[in-house]
């Protein structure tokens, strides 16, 4: 078997033990390519555990700039004996295995069709260091150095990254640089470079490399959020923590050192959303960050927010099902429970970002929408976007932009005798005016309830009053259609009767899949949905095609269900393409699924040039 050869286009996967300090070394490995102008797409696959269980980190080096997972592994850095067998099995034929060769392994532990690269990491560490923790941590830096030499990564780039990471701690920088060279020198003295190589390029541009949770937390700062109430839950925790850190940096009153924000770690998700609703009722922009189980617990309050018309923002970083295990894996499986959260007739506005750049934008936008629409806005991230670093457009802000506080009647308007009915549809858009508590001594006060009140907020159990009110809420939902981000349409090179609809983190894999299919002569028009309620374009798109694939990362085709339900779409027109094993969806999967159901592709001359075609 000929060893794989590729420049700037391969997948390296690290198999580590959780808690061994490998994460920062692996991230540095990924970032070294970016500094050489070569895009990467990196993903953590981690257990629900602090220490001891297996964890993986996958780096796709991709000069073409694909942001999705490719699937398959060209080089495995096998640092975890527990998962040796399955890690070995995952390597592509012709691929490479990098391992710690301190302890000899029998030939049966290897494969014939791969290249085995052994570096005696443990022995090198034991000879160089005496403190056990140092032996463990520097082992990671040593293997990064060895990989750099094997893959032609510029060592100066990694030295610079180390200098930035340990800025101000000169001793640590020197020690890590020494470890880095220890690994590189070993390779140069004992091994040959591999068929996989890095080469300086100019394909990163001014893009930044950041996690979606961090971007969303920053979005909340720019969106004017002042109250955050949250309960720790993977994979959303780092969102609240990022908000906390950004607030410390950007929201501290320079004169007094006091906080222009309040962050409370609540006793549970019910209290979190309760605080958000209380703060929203009182005119502050407030949010919580959570995941599926939190959404389940928040249902009653979300309904109250809907009926009592109180602004709230929920960042839902989606993950797999209940309890432990799958919850540290990614899914898009809360779409229905968010869209129709709570009892009674309710539906809610969803924003569907596809990458950290949109997490920032929609994170900020959510607060304007919640004040404008006086209801809960869900921002639906997932673990893949939230907890992985992505290459994304730089954050930008228009300094002329102001916060849209929505319809709030002021003291002066009340004083001037303007009619105030808390639930009165004065503009025909379904959105009434509200007042903040404490506005006026005698006017504008009202009693907030779920339902059972007339347009002037007075108690009523009349059926007709209830019906009028919930009909108005539907008008408001119609208004929301024009306020959520519009879908993004991307037509195939040739007219086609086949379409595909997708959203969120599926976007990265879909971009690549569309390129691959186009090159294969399979023409598919694509529509990326970015908000709910759905714009009319979504249903126009479906009407304009004979068959529409709906690609998403859950078992039940939740977006498909939502589209059928909201648009009265014939189920036969919508074909579900579903990926839900907890790993991020890949272009290989999408092209395979769609190609398998389409008529045979027309042959095209470019076909042989496609590097990562399906199958």
């Amino acid at each position: 078997m000929r060893p794989l050869e590729a420049v700037n286009d391969f997948v390296v996967k690290f198999a580590n033990v959780n808690g061994s300090g490998s994460a920062s070394a692996n991230a540095m490995f990924a970032k070294s390519f970016l500094r050489m102008g070569v895009p990467v797409a990196a993903r953590n696959i981690f257990p629900s555990n602090i220490q001891g269980l297996p964890t993986w980190y996958e780096v796709r080096v991709t000069e073409a700039g694909h942001q999705g997972r490719r699937g398959g592994v060209d080089m495995m850095v096998a640092m975890n004996p527990q998962t040796w067998d399955r890690d070995l099995a995952e390597i592509e034929p012709g691929g490479y295995l990098f391992y710690d060769s301190t302890k000899p392994l029998p030939p049966s532990k290897f494969r014939e069709d791969i290249t085995v690269v052994g570096v005696p990491l443990t022995r090198m560490c034991n000879e160089a260091y005496s403190v056990p923790r140092e032996r463990q941590l520097f082992k990671n830096t040593i293997y990064v150095g060895a990989l750099a030499a094997l893959l032609d990564i510029e060592i100066a780039v990694i030295e610079q990254l180390l200098a930035e990471q340990f800025a101000g701690k000169e001793r640590l920088i020197a020690a890590n640089v020494a470890a880095l060279h220890m690994g590189a020198d070993y390779v140069k003295a004992n091994l040959q470079p591999l068929g996989l190589r890095a080469r300086r390029a100019d394909k990163v541009g001014d893009r930044i490399y950041v996690e979606g949770n961090m971007a969303a937390g920053l979005g909340a700062v720019y969106g004017g959020a002042t109250v955050c109430a949250w309960y720790p839950i993977t994979p959303s925790t780092s969102l609240a923590e990022a908000f906390t850190e950004f607030c410390g940096d950007y929201r501290t009153d320079p004169a007094t050192g006091k906080a222009r924000y309040a962050i409370v770690q609540a006793e549970d998700e019910i209290a979190s959303i309760g605080m958000v609703v209380g703060a929203g009722w009182n005119g502050a922009r407030a949010f919580t960050a959570t995941s599926g189980p939190g959404i389940s617990l928040m249902q009653e309050f979300v309904g109250l927010s809907y009926f009592a018309e109180i602004p709230a923002v929920i960042f839902d970083v989606q993950r797999g099902g209940p309890s432990t295990g799958m919850p540290t894996r990614t899914q898009q499986s809360d779409i229905l429970s968010a869209a129709y959260a709570s009892h009674g007739d309710t539906k809610h506005v969803l924003l569907l970002p596809q990458d950290p750049g949109e997490c920032f934008e929609m994170g900020a936008l959510a607060f304007d929408l919640s004040d404008r629409l006086q209801t809960t806005i869900f921002v639906m991230l997932d673990l893949d976007i939230g907890m992985n670093e992505w290459l994304t457009e730089p954050f930008a802000w228009d300094d002329s932009r102001t916060l849209d506080r929505g319809k709030v009647m002021t003291h002066d308007e009340l004083e001037a005798g303007r009619d105030f009915g808390r639930y009165l549809d004065v503009d025909g858009d379904g959105i009434p005016f509200r007042t903040y508590p404490g506005t006026h001594p005698t006017k504008g006060g009202y009693f907030t309830r779920g339902t059972s009140r007339n347009p002037y907020a007075r108690y009523s159990e009349e059926g007709s009053v209830y019906v009028d009110n919930v009909q108005r809420l539907l008008r408001k939902f119609e208004t929301a259609k024009g306020l959520v981000p519009a879908p993004v349409r991307r037509d195939a090179a040739r007219p086609t009767r086949t379409g595909v609809i997708y959203y969120g983190s599926t976007g990265a894999a879909m971009d690549e899949a569309l390129q691959v299919m186009e090159a294969q002569g399979r023409h598919v028009d694509a529509l990326r949905v970015r908000g709910f309620p759905f714009a009319d374009e979504v249903f126009d798109f479906i009407a304009a095609h004979d068959e529409v694939f709906v690609v998403e990362q859950n078992r039940d085709g939740q977006l498909r269900t939502l589209i059928m339900n909201e648009g009265g779409v014939d189920p036969a027109k919508l074909t579900a393409v579903l990926h839900y094993d907890g790993t991020p969806i890949t272009a290989r999967f999408i092209t395979g699924e769609i190609a398998g159901r389409l008529t045979p592709a027309e042959p095209t001359p470019e076909r042989r040039q496609v590097p990562e075609a399906a199958e």
């Binding site: 004017g224 209380g278 502050a284 109250l304 730089p394 802000w397 916060l403 006060g445």
Partner: protein
């Protein structure tokens, strides 16, 4: 049924307070509770306290959960913003509201089902966070709206109207509040307005988490022989540790008790609590001995009332979070949005 507007007619010689408001200006809509309900007496006490304190009604935010007690905020302070939230979750909503605007006065009204059962966790956590609020539980030991089930404050061995004996231990909210660090803890009785009104005034002036457990007999479902929350039982077993004169800062203090029988406590806002001792050696500023005293008297079947504990140096959640003096809901765009220059620097650090 629909909202009943109260007639605006009132006696021409009603006395006005310092704001030029009469007692009627602090009323709300007509109560829909049963005639003779203890909760209506508490509403009346709240009205009286707010009137006597010269509170601008719109500076009060009143919040409640679900249940008979939680309906009452509609029946007082009609010019205030009110919020009938969801069952057992008023404390979190109040906490959030308080975070948004630290300048308003927050009055939470709840019941024993709302606070000791479904909302026990939220009750506990709001208290331990030191939210600046007055939290009144209208405690009747029974579920009224759903017709007569025991609540978690029903005493062990007490009998329901249907004759069922309660086998579960009771949650004593006063003891819990003391343990969790409430900085103002009182118990009173809806039938004792003279005791209750000054306690509410003192609680509303307190700058920390103030809790009042107010025994409020349910005349429909829990006012029979065998109940420990009936008018007769509470009257027979009420042991007040003190009586309170609440003195606002500008008033002169008249001491008309025997020397050595009263305690003066000055709160943060300058208001003075003039406490006349009824129980010998009871020190309402000593939390530990208050807990011990309560436990001892409770074991004897007594219902201890009065101002049980006050910390004159109380602090609140905002002090812990070190938030700015300006209410968060009034911060301007310039104070909230870091702007594009900051993003440029941040972008540079993410490459």
């Amino acid at each position: 049924m629909t909202y009943i507007t109260k007639p605006q007619l009132h006696h021409p010689r009603l006395v006005e307070n310092a704001l030029g408001k009469t007692r009627r200006d602090y009323e709300g809509s007509v109560s829909t509770l049963c005639a003779g309900c203890g909760h209506d007496s508490i509403s009346a006490a709240i009205i009286q306290a707010a009137y006597e304190l010269d509170l601008p009604p719109h500076r009060v935010a009143k919040l409640s959960g679900i249940g008979c007690s939680s309906k009452t905020p509609d029946y007082f302070l009609g010019a205030s913003h009110g919020f009938n939230t969801v069952h057992g979750r008023m404390p979190s909503v109040l906490t959030g509201a308080n975070l948004a605007n630290r300048d308003l006065i927050y009055l939470g009204v709840s019941g024993d089902g709302d606070s000791a059962s479904i909302g026990f966790g939220q009750f506990a956590h709001a208290i331990r966070r030191g939210v600046n609020m007055t939290y009144i539980v209208e405690n009747n030991g029974v579920y009224g709206l759903t017709k007569g089930q025991f609540s978690a404050t029903s005493d062990k061995g007490s009998k329901s109207k249907k004759g069922v004996v309660n086998h579960d231990s009771a949650i004593d909210l006063v003891s819990v509040a003391l343990q969790l660090g409430a900085t103002f803890v009182a118990r009173s009785f809806s039938g004792d307005k003279a005791q209750l009104v000054p306690l509410i005034k003192a609680a509303l002036s307190h700058q920390g988490s103030a809790f009042i457990d107010c025994i409020s007999p349910c005349i429909q479902f829990n006012n029979h022989a065998g109940s420990t929350k009936s008018f007769d039982y509470v009257r027979d077993h009420n042991e007040a540790v003190n009586t309170l004169d609440f003195v606002v800062p500008r008033e002169a203090i008249h001491l008309d008790y025997e020397p050595g029988t009263n305690t003066l406590v000055t709160q943060h806002d300058g208001s003075v609590l003039n406490l006349h001792k009824l129980a010998e050696h009871y020190d309402p500023t000593d939390r530990i001995s208050a807990m011990a005293y309560l436990a001892g008297r409770q074991a004897q079947g007594e219902v201890v009332t009065g101002l049980l504990y006050v910390d004159p140096k109380a602090t609140d959640l905002h002090e812990g979070l070190e938030t700015v003096e300006t209410p968060l809901n009034q911060l301007t765009d310039a104070e909230l949005i870091p702007g594009s220059k900051v993003l440029e620097r941040l972008n540079a650090s993410l490459r």
